[in-house]
């Protein structure tokens, strides 16, 4: 045997160097490049927004806001003094919150709405008896959590959020320019401010209006999140004091107005038909009807155990930009007969992708998947919309208008799509061939037309109108979102193409409103 060495310095050094290098390579920068929104400086005051057309309110004067104390009054001077005390003592953490909310009130609350949608977007698990328990609004944090924030649910939640923000803001604008109270730092130049100050009158506070109206809606839509929402609300309102942007009476008047508008908008929500959108008793009748109009093999759930279809009567929910009878007129023609040459051609395309899906097809399918655990396609388009408003330095009120137009169009698209889905009750490709498996997850409702395509067509139609220089890009995105459902192997091409075209048509109703709402 050869001599054995006990310790080799050379080897140990080499190993140490290798390990140290590896540590340097891999331990550095283990943070992600999550975008941070900058402080928004509105490019316009939108002075006339008090005359813009509301959605739910009869007029921007429907809810009264009392005249504020004059700038010369002792009360106001005391408020300014108090504000100076606050701003002189702010902490680094408070400054951070000022910057966070400085990105925009509507921008941030839309982002919060999307985050909650993602958090609640998980379908209930089946229980021991093979049943799917219904989420219970009275017990939102039990299993399954309430709500199941699926695409139709999220479309509606974000539509109400944006509408409440918009109606509240145009009302606030009405009173802002009626009472014309200047920003605290314009009245007293010794008030320290942490955000850019414009000539926008400060009473009632647009931030408080948006915060309270948003919280009224979001508490109703996500009742398990009340403590989280209360905390965000307090933080948002306080951030305006810390920043030296508003005195307390600006905030409290805005808060009262926001609450009042939120309540009006919620009154519509309570009677819009959502309460009966999950009427499973209707499906037998729907299936029978689908058979009579040519769907020889109606859709059945592909889950085990079979899951009741998602919101079968959502097509009866009250739309925003047209009346209920219009829904039927927007219903597209029947899809190809099952087994027809046209059907087979579409099926063959899917069978081919099932075998040979390219990496690029998988990427597109995944990018637009917006499935379980995500903010859904409505959330995806709200994010695009909010970012475009921010990138274009829109005022609070114009941002709210854009998202209200977008949000209502997207919910309208959802309503029309669900109407069509349950009218034709058309089977998914996966039901027609076991060889077709999905790379994104299989939705539990009929195939025709594609929801992604409808949502995206409507979303792109509205945003392209507001941002004409982006039109080509937005329409291409919608087309890609639509195609992604073919690449993901859950829709026939005709589901997607018809859905996209119909989505654009639905979106056009919101565009027509935009042309006459007083903002253009």
């Amino acid at each position: 045997m050869k001599t054995k060495h006990i310790f080799s310095l050379k080897g140990t050094t080499a190993t140490t160097v290798i390990l140290a290098t590896l540590m340097m390579v891999f331990s550095c920068s283990k943070t992600v490049n999550d975008p941070v929104a900058s402080i928004n400086i509105p490019s316009s005051l939108d002075e006339n927004a008090g005359n813009w057309k509301p959605y739910v309110l009869a007029a921007t004067s429907e809810i009264p806001v009392a005249e504020p104390n004059a700038a010369t009054s002792a009360e106001y001077k005391a408020e300014i003094q108090k504000l100076k005390d606050v701003t002189s003592k702010i902490t680094a953490q408070q400054r951070e919150q000022v910057n966070y909310w400085g990105a925009g009130a509507v921008f941030r609350w839309n982002e919060i709405g999307r985050e909650l949608a993602a958090r609640y977007n998980t379908p209930p698990a089946s229980d021991k008896d093979g049943k799917y328990p219904l989420p219970d609004a009275a017990n939102p944090l039990a299993d399954p959590k309430f709500p199941f924030a699926n695409p139709p649910y999220t479309a509606r939640a974000l539509a109400y959020l944006s509408v409440a923000q918009y109606d509240a803001l145009i009302t606030a604008w009405n009173y802002k320019f009626k009472y014309n109270r200047k920003a605290p730092s314009k009245t007293d130049q010794s008030v320290l401010t942490l955000l850019p100050v414009t000539d926008l009158p400060s009473y009632p506070s647009e931030d408080a209006v948006v915060a309270e109206a948003s919280v009224i809606i979001l508490k109703a839509m996500f009742p398990g999140e009340v403590p989280f929402l209360e905390q965000k609300l307090a933080e948002h309102k306080n951030s305006r004091l810390w920043a030296g942007m508003n005195v307390e009476s600006d905030i409290s008047a805005g808060a009262e107005l926001g609450k009042a508008v939120g309540a009006k908008v919620m009154a519509r929500a309570k009677t819009d038909g959502m309460g009966t959108a999950n009427n499973q008793a209707k499906t037998a009748e729907m299936i029978a009807n689908a058979r009579t109009i040519g769907t020889t093999e109606p859709w059945v759930s592909q889950e085990v155990p079979a899951r009741p279809p998602m919101l079968p009567t959502y097509g009866g929910v009250l739309p925003w930009n047209f009346d209920r009878p219009t829904i039927v007129t927007l219903r597209p023609e029947a899809p190809p007969a099952l087994g027809s040459a046209e059907f087979q051609k579409n099926m063959d395309e899917l069978l081919n992708i099932a075998k040979n899906q390219t990496r690029e097809q998988a990427r597109i399918a995944s990018f637009w998947s917006d499935g379980v655990g995500s903010y859904t396609p409505p959330g995806h388009w709200h994010r695009r919309g909010a970012n475009l408003c921010h990138d274009n330095s829109f005022s609070e009120v114009r941002t709210a208008r854009t998202l209200a137009l977008l949000g209502t169009a997207i919910q309208d698209a959802g309503i029309c799509c669900w109407d069509t889905k349950y009218y034709y009750y058309y089977p998914r490709p996966n039901q027609m061939s076991r060889k077709v498996k999905t790379s994104v997850g299989l939705p539990n409702f009929p195939s025709y037309t594609s929801g992604h395509s409808m949502f995206s067509g409507a979303g792109a139609e509205v945003l392209a109108h507001i941002f004409p220089s982006e039109a080509e890009k937005l329409n291409a995105m919608a087309a890609e979102a639509s195609l992604s459902r073919i690449y993901g192997l859950i829709h026939y091409r005709f589901d997607c193409e018809t859905g996209l075209a119909t989505g654009h048509k639905v979106g056009n109703y919101a565009v027509q409103r935009a042309k006459t709402d007083g903002a253009e």
């Binding site: 590896l22 490049n33 379908p123 959590k145 085990v304 099932a354």
Partner: protein, 309 residues
Amino acid sequence: MVISLQKNLRACSAAVLALLGISSAAFAQMPNDAIYMSKNTACLAVSYSHSSWDKYWENSLKRENFNIGTHTTQGVMPMLAVGITKNLNVIAAIPYLWTQASAGNLKWQRGFQDVSGWIKYRFVNVSGFSLHAIAGASLPSNNYVPDFLPMSIGIQCKTATGRLLASYRHKTGVYLTASGSYIFRSKIKIDRDAYQAGDRLYGTNEVVVPNAYDAAVRVGYLKKGIQAEGFMEHGACDGGDNIRRNDMPFPTNNMKSTIAGVYAKYQPKNIGVNARAAYVLDGRNVGQSTSFSLGVLYQFRYIGKSSEK
């Protein structure tokens, strides 16, 4: 000469071990024995592995999923171990994997996964007792989809592993080996630009994947071309989140598992075979997999081929 040949044959067994981690957990368990190829000698091994589960831990809840049924990962992996000196070996491997689910509608995935390379160095070797420093790294060989779990074949991390291994082998052939590792894992990019992790919604395509660690104990017998071993392994992530209720797994999950298994090898001459079976006793955010693998080993001299004969 005989001793040297035996040692080389033993070293061949390292090949099979590489597959176990890939199929049972997201982090690779790689060369983890105290056996070396001697200088100028190499071993090529090809293994087939099969790992399946019909129950998994969703966070701490052990459950089945009727829309997955039985989930199976199979793989074939070529691996090359090369003796640079008698105390320094280099190992490289790349697995080809394919997944499937017996029920439901999730699409299979397949392809080459990550290339891995290892340096194994014995720095103490006295009276049957030895200490080893092992460093490894892996790189994804292509841009397979990392976040379509549990169907994805991997999670796209670049990894770097530092491992210390201690071994004692009695002259009767009985041995005891213990090892521990820390695995650095890079952040990854996914195809989406939004995802949830740790109760937060991120608005980027970059995902921070937690680092991982493992520890293992092996007891066995090794003499004259015969090896038989029983082992226990525990692996977990250094942080990470859990699978949300009734949601799918995600690369940020803290995947933990405790595994028991057996391993055997027979290699009377240059050509040998080995087999391994393992079972996940307990875990979090992983499937309770049963896995087995079979390998064929071929050992050869790459310099001075004739001198050994």
